[in-house]
Structure formats: C-alpha cells, structure tokens
Symmetry: C2
Subunit: 235 residues, 2 copies
C-alpha cells in the first residue's frame, strides 16, 4: 500500500491535503483513485489509515480513517555518535540500515583523526526518511548537525554511555555491560580510530569502553554492529 511521510499532519483533523509533489506522485505516478487506501506516518509515532477523498493531481485530499499512536514504540532509546566516513556512501548505508534495524538519534562527530570534517545533514536525512517509509517506521530517527567530539562530550546525556575503540585498555562486552530498556549513547570513531586523548576524555566522562568482538570492523560496520547488539539485547 502507498505510504506517505506527513510530519505536518494534525491527528485531530479528519482530512489531510497532500502537497503538490505528493499529489502528483499519488495521482499521476501511482494512479490512485477516489476511495483507494493509503498509509501515512508522521515521524512522531503516528500511523494513519487514510483513503483518497479527492484525487486532485496538485492538492489531493485524504480522508483519515483511523490513527494508531505510538506505532511500534521502541522499548529503549539508542543514540549513536559516529564519525562520518571518508567515503560518505558508507555513512549513508549505515543510516539506512540502522533505521531499518532500529535507532532513535544519530550524531555526526568530527574527531582528531577524522578525514571528513563535515557532512550534509539534509541529504543524509532524506536517506533516513526513505528508510522509514520502506520499513514502515512511525518514528523518524533524529539526525543532528555535525559537532566536534568535545562538543558531544559536553552535551548532557542521561543513560548508559559507551565508547567503542580499537586501542588497548579494559573493555566490556555490551552483553555484560548493558542494562536493558534504558537510554544508550555509543561513540564510534573514524577510520583511524579515536585519539588516546579522546578515549581518556570519554572515560573521564563516565563512558565505558566496549568491544564489538574480535573482528576488525570498518567505522560503519562497527556502528551497525553496535546498533544490532543494543536492539538484540533489548528484544
């Protein structure tokens, strides 16, 4: 069934107007007709069952038939802070896959050894949006503007904090260190790993060092592994 992402929808309103682009897609491309059923997600947990009331190619009117609030609400909150990869496509697929598997917030951190110092959030956010539509997620993960590693450390976070690094030092397995149904912030470093000063800074700020297994993983694979583990342990 055709699904639209409608962040501006008002749950109290019985009707919704698709914008010009969505209307064109619905009527000219998908050839939807009066009475055809569609789904809407508002990105804040709302899943709507609707049908075409007026198949206008520029301002299609939808009739809202039912609303499900907190659709597939997650039982934990996962915030992954990842250094954007040199090849941005690798970060893009992490965002697509993490959205499919389940994630709540992503921060892009610029680290001492980051080769990439910026990232286009608007473009990356479009990838997340198409992934929630593809996997029917009513909650839209939040993608924050890039910030430096130290700026991230300075931001308050209430929950369990972890840093995944490849340097020596004591590390726990998420399996052992994680309390379920909680909030998690996990730091994933750039291709060259975090610098020792960054690791120490995190440890001083109550981050626990974790291992993601024996394999040497790329940045985006490590981030997805962490995402898989947290979701798996909370299942």
């Amino acid at each position: 069934m055709q699904l639209f992402y409608t962040p501006g929808i008002n749950p109290a309103h019985p009707q919704y107007f698709l914008n010009e682009e969505e209307s064109k897609h619905a009527i000219r491309v998908m050839r939807l007709e009066k009475g055809d059923e569609v789904q809407l997600i508002d990105g804040k947990g709302g899943l709507y069952a609707a049908s075409i009331l007026d198949p206008h190619p520029k301002r299609t009117i939808l009739q809202i038939n039912s609303v499900t609030a907190e659709f597939n609400k997650r039982n934990h909150y996962l915030h992954i802070a990842i250094a954007p990869t040199k090849n941005i496509e690798r970060t893009e697929w992490f965002l697509e896959k993490a959205t499919e598997v389940g994630i709540d917030e992503i921060s892009l951190i610029i680290c001492q050894r980051s080769e990439r110092k910026d990232a286009k959030v608007e473009r990356l956010n479009k990838i997340i949006t198409s992934a929630i539509k593809q996997s029917i997620k009513a909650y839209h993960p939040v993608l924050n503007e890039p910030l430096t590693f130290n700026q991230l450390l300075a931001k308050p976070f209430s929950g369990q904090q972890f840093i995944a690094h490849c340097d020596v030092g004591e590390k726990v397995n998420l399996k052992d260190g994680l309390q379920t149904h909680s909030n998690y912030l996990i730091l994933i470093g750039p291709e060259g790993d975090f610098a020792p000063a960054e690791i120490n800074g995190a440890l001083k700020n109550d981050f626990k060092a974790i291992t993601l297994g024996e394999s040497r993983l790329r940045t985006e694979t490590a981030a997805l592994e962490a995402c898989f583990e947290v979701n798996f342990l909370n299942r």
Copy 2:
C-alpha cells in the same frame, strides 16, 4: 602493513614468489624495498609474516619468517543462503559486511519470487577477497555458484537449519533456538519473500522458522542481521 592474499602458498616452503601483478603493486605502487615486512593470508587459516628478499618488480621474492596456522579460527560454522537482490549492489555489501563480521559459506539461491535469476560469482568473490584483506581474515568465506531453492534443500547439511520468512506461522527467536558452537544454515528470501510452498518445503526438511525481530528488513539487511546474531550468540 601491506597484506597479500596468497591462496597458492606452500607452508613448507621458505620463500614465495609474488605474481607479476602483486610484484608490480608491491614494488612500483607500495614502493616496498628489500627487508620490508609484509603479511600473507592463504584463505585457509594461514597467516604468514614475510619480508622482501628480492624486490623484483615482476617476480618479487618473499622470505617467509613465520607461519600462524588457524589464525582466529571461528568457533562455529555459518552458512547463509540468500536470494540475490534485484539491485546486486545490496548483495555485494552484504558480502562485504558479512565477511567483516564473520561468515564461512554463502549460497546464492534462486527462489520462486526472485526477480534476479543469476549472479556473477567471480565478481562477488573479489568483494569477499578484498574484505578479508581489509579485516585481516585468514579464512576466505566460500561463495557457491547460484542454485535453485530446491537444489539447496536437496543438499545434505549437518547442523541447525533455519529459514527466515515474513509469512505467518510459528517462529522462534535465534536467541532461544540456537545451540552455540555448532553448524548453521540460514535461508534468506528475495524481496517478495519465500513462497508458501518453499516455506513448507523447508519446514518438512527440518528447517526451523525464525524471526529476526519486529522490523521489516530488506533481504540484505535480514541476512546481515542473521549473521550478527549467530556471531554474537557464539561470542
């Protein structure tokens, strides 16, 4: 350190000749000189420490200094049979990521609802090879030629067999159904899922139906999720 994949190496031999392409890469591109150290992996568990004995640009001679057998030998055997995706790039990244995370054998299965009926194994195998070099894996995962779903069912397999499908029916969580340190064969269907006849055929052949969580996952994401779960549960 520079690493070469040398499947033809003889562990009993004190020297090894790089082929013309490898020699050119080592001497002309990497500018390696006499005495420089390199690593070799043979794809069968052997990790070799070697050094340049003769930096010949067409037939570089390496001195083997030490051999580690069964390097990072895995404690289980994972065989994933996946229907190649319509967009082959999605299968390619599954192969790269699964190799990084840990997998032993991959079969490409053509199913009733497969939109893609074939795949170029040679090209896909190159992706696996570059992934084992990148993540320093001494074992090269085996990639089998495409076969039909029924041909796969007919092949003998000793170990636990699972099928991941989105259809209705009783399913177990791998967390509950999996015995650790064993052999596993997991079936992952095409974009349109397995056909009911295929699911029944698998169940009749002692496959257990599994769920990979509540999320609706793409074919390649489901396959990687299964790969993550099996490795994680065997850690």
